[in-house]
Amino acid sequence: MNQEVEKALQSALARKNPPDGFADRVMARLPEAQSSSSSNVRTMPSRRPAWLAIGLAASLAVGSFAGLRYQQYRQGQEASRQLMLALQITGEKLTLAQHKVVGVGERRIDQ
């Protein structure tokens, strides 16, 4: 019985052609669709430089930011080095002054 139903279904659901001129009617609607797709095609070359420019600008911005940060880092390092040198000089001067004060104090006690 299933086979009978299946056979009848195959017959009932056989492919049918659309009314004559179907392809022509689709093609007649195509220029509208094509103009939108062709406009996409036309805009692609102009979009490419735009994307390139955006990419280039982004790269430059990132590069500049990185360069600025590096420069700030170098300046910080230099400032730190100078501070250490200044502290070292100050320390040496303080030590010298301390020796002198101690020396003067010892001489007064001796007198």
């Binding site: 279904l9 017959s11 659901l13 492919r15």
Partner: protein, 191 residues
Amino acid sequence: MQPGPNTSDELLTQARAGSRSAFSELIEIHQSMVFSLLLHVVNEAAVAEEIAQDVFLELHKNLDSIESGQHLTRWLRTVASRRGIDEVRRWKFRSPHALEDLPEPRIDAESPDVLLSEKLRKLLNRLPAKHRTIVVLRYQEDLDPSDIALQLEMPVATVKSTLHRALGMLRCAFDRANVTTQETLLKREAV
């Protein structure tokens, strides 16, 4: 018309390059498949043609994404099936009557085969849109359940169980319709 794999591939390449005649040939090759699928799902020739035209216009927009002739056939079946299901659901939602409440199609047929085909199509229209599409893909396009599952992106088990249930429903209705048809024919012969 069944296209050879090379024919479709070549036409596809030409259509992608912008050949209108190649695209027109692709329509000629696939129009009966797309139109019939939609006709059997939406059961209205004018609506089926309108949606079929939209399917081919969508194809034209997506030509670059179609990789081969086989891919093209699968793409058309999938898009047509989805559009058909959507249309039936929208129509059912808009319509104050359910599909099964609509008047029975007029039968002018002379032969019992045509009468039975009409009855079967009418019975098929009582199935939910998705079940109907599965049956159409199985018996119009002769697809296996696994192929149908791929086309409609659903599990194979669901397709199999849907086909089983749909066939069961159709068989019961078919038995009743068969008896009625035979009675109708007998009455006609008597007249």
